[in-house]
Symmetry: C2
Subunit: 467 residues, 2 copies
């Protein structure tokens, strides 16, 4: 089963807004086992919308559209859908109730323009958007005389019967000791689907997660996949591969293993594939596989189901009831921001200092004036005093610090742009420092420094936990 | 003249990576007066690449592709281009010299695999990529017997003559007192163009800015546009519109004005349109228009050619040699990060404190224990002591502070999730505080709080400068 994504909006086309919807939708579909075969961005232009609706329906089973659902003149998606499916707009009661509720809760008056949000093509099924006023619309359609038609097209009844039959067959099949793969009707005989979603990212995301993806999975009886990520640290990819070779060889044939090296660690991704009704079986297979990995590589496993290093830091500090403080020069608040962007940061993060000028390094962190004078602000001595200073002053178990030349100016021959010192301090005077060299691109230097910091911090915490 | 963008890569298709290339490329094309008619993301799949190359060439004059240029097996863009244009790969000397230079500078050995980076289709023109090893490739082509063909297709010579002729005509035209619009040959008679760029964002961006966009503008003799943004603060959109009405009415017909309201301010965007050779004239028109705006609305104009509030803060503080400090609870380092993400922050930003727990508010900012006990950490009293504390301790002219409940937990009936206090302190004890209410989405609360903080800060600085 293939899906295409069609994002509509002039603001996307001219690059005013980065199209995060496309990647988020693609992630959610991929995780549900639905292949994305293409993503398209077009403007608020009727001719293009209709052209690409047809184009996408020809090349995929489901078309997921976003955008163009607002009440202003340039939002024309609903009109185009009417034209495409030969339907007409009407005021939908359920959608109107939602719009009314939305305006009442905010104490606003419902104007005729806002009321237009509740108008939808007669041929669609409305999916209620609890986070906004633009309804989500589900169209299930088939081809008739070279045109895509809705609901009552001749094939609809047959398709619906096929779907029911398929369900019954699959139940029967699951009762057989040797499942009979002949006992199912290919998905392609089921109706194709067009879904129109609002372009506001959080409304789209909520609708996709709670309604659209589950409905697609049911409608197309898609194959199931179960994915599990395991983060490993302190061992290189090739050594890890040798170590877990017997386990890998013994994995069931429907489970695939991928090594994904990241900054300072390796992510192992297990993907189990199975039929539409196999989810419980797949989940059990994955749980068994993960349990089997621990006896071999347990001491390198730092976390499960995490995507990023800051997530791993948060998980570790919360789990072991540890506290953390930050002192930042060249990362300028990015470390603090990465931690506090995640809910629950107050459980382990005490706070930090952004010591952008030398006086602040002295007054807020207690770096000695002589250290700065003798060794420079970007030096092992300075980063050591920064990290121990912030740990003590903010009363944390662990602390991290950065000082460097992010650029593009401020470099010297001895200390070129991209030179960074990082420091990690732990209980009982533990101190780790490291010198890094990056290039002259500011954003990249800041980002790579944060990777190095989190990686060194995890290493120290982990080695302390093992002692 | 229309362009399409074709981004190739499985990692984009499954949503592992957000496609920032599409928006950046679209921005650069739009700013150069080139219309983007569609953006497409497809996987590393030969059939799709060839299908969409044809599709895009039919629907636009220039196709800008990214991705699939690496040396590994899944990078197949170059092979597809060979197939499409009936060409073959060869080792290009200029590209090889660039790859060699790249590896030598890093002290790496040039392996046969890396050397493959210098192989390109014989029919393309190589554009040197100074920031990476994958060359940029320019194909100029025409239709022949229903197939797209390169260079030596029958129309090539004629097209080249047309292009030269057009250039001569335009010079002639610019010498006439009354330009003759008949004296030009429609762009559509010029050859179409395919450009293949590396997918690495900074390589792509550099190539687009220095080579690809200027070449497209020359090749297609595109119309020119000149854009100017003016930031206005302290007056609502409708009042501003009344105020500048006479000026707006008197604008030349080829200049369009757009009102773009943003958090706490209005951006006025002037866009001047003209022919390929009109750039100097358009620049003069825009300069005149801007000069004419100041007598009417000068006191509300806070900056020109800036896109965001942090940019405006940086500009203002540098221009007037002011210094700034930050104290953050709920924004958790985001304010500091927004400032330090821009080069030159050390000229005005002294530093900040991320006071995530109450003890840090006390020890690092001097908030009194009784204040926290009596009024709560999220209160006008606390934010006042935070902002005055950080200003004094870090020795800055101005300071800003935030404290709030970003959520999703931590709310109480009196102080629900989304409650935020912000504070701004200025010279001689100036203090502004403001209570804000946002919803329960953490990222949005953090972002909106930063808008409010920068907006209040600019207001205070501006009013002090006027005194």
């Amino acid at each position: 089963m293939k899906a295409t994504i069609l994002n509509i909006g002039d603001e996307l086309l001219i690059g005013q807004v980065v199209n995060t919807n496309a990647s988020r939708m693609a992630q959610m579909l991929t995780q549900a086992g639905i292949d994305v075969s293409g993503t398209y961005v077009i403007g608020d232009n009727a001719e293009d919308i209709i052209y690409y609706l047809r184009h996408c329906l020809q090349r995929s089973d489901a078309v997921l559209m976003t955008g163009g659902l607002g009440p202003t003149k340039d939002d024309i998606t609903k009109k185009c859908l009417c034209q495409f499916f030969d339907s007409e707009l009407y005021e939908n009661e359920e959608a109107l109730a939602n719009v009314r509720r939305f305006f009442e809760a905010r104490g606003y008056e419902l104007t005729p323009i806002n009321r237009q949000q509740a108008w939808v093509p007669r041929c669609c099924q409305v999916i209620n958007n609890v986070l906004g006023t633009a309804p989500c619309m589900w169209f299930s359609c088939g081809m008739e005389n070279g045109e895509w038609r809705m609901e009552n097209h001749p094939g609809a009844a047959a398709n619906s019967q096929l779907s029911t039959l398929n369900s019954q067959l699959s139940t029967l099949n699951s009762q057989l000791s040797t499942p009979n793969s002949q006992l199912s009707i290919p998905n392609s005989q089921l109706k194709k689907v067009v879904v129109s979603l609002p372009g506001v990212p959080f409304e789209m995301e909520n609708l996709m997660a709670t309604e659209v993806v589950p409905r697609l999975v049911r409608h197309f009886r898609t194959d199931q996949i179960v994915i599990k990520n395991i983060l490993v640290q302190g061992i290189g990819e090739s050594f890890l591969s040798d170590l877990i070779e017997p386990w890998e060889t013994a994995l069931p044939k429907n489970i695939r293993l991928a090594y994904l090296p990241q900054a300072g660690m390796v992510k192992l991704r297990l993907t189990a594939h199975g039929g539409h009704d196999d989810r419980p079986k797949l989940e059990q297979q994955i749980a068994d596989a993960v349990a089997g990995l621990y006896p071999l590589a347990g001491k390198y496993i730092v976390g499960e189901d995490m995507e990023s290093l800051p997530e791993l830091v948060a998980y570790t500090f919360k789990k072991y009831h540890l506290t953390l403080a930050t002192a930042e020069s060249c990362t300028g608040g990015m470390l603090a921001h990465q931690l506090t962007a995640m809910a629950g940061a107050s459980e382990y993060y005490r706070g930090g200092v952004v010591s952008y000028c030398n006086e602040v390094k002295e007054c807020a962190l207690g770096v000695r004036h002589e250290t700065l004078e003798t060794y420079d602000a970007v030096s092992e001595e300075t980063v050591s005093e920064m990290v121990t200073g912030v740990r003590t002053r903010l009363g944390a178990d662990y602390a991290v610090a950065t000082t460097g030349v992010a650029g593009p100016t401020g470099g010297t021959p001895e200390r070129p742009v991209g030179t960074v010192w990082i420091g990690v301090a732990g209980p009982e005077g533990q101190l780790v420092t490291k010198l890094l060299h990056f290039g002259d691109r500011r954003a990249q230097t800041i980002e790579r420094t944060t990777h190095a910091v989190w990686s060194e911090l995890i290493k120290l915490v982990k080695s302390n936990l093992q002692d």
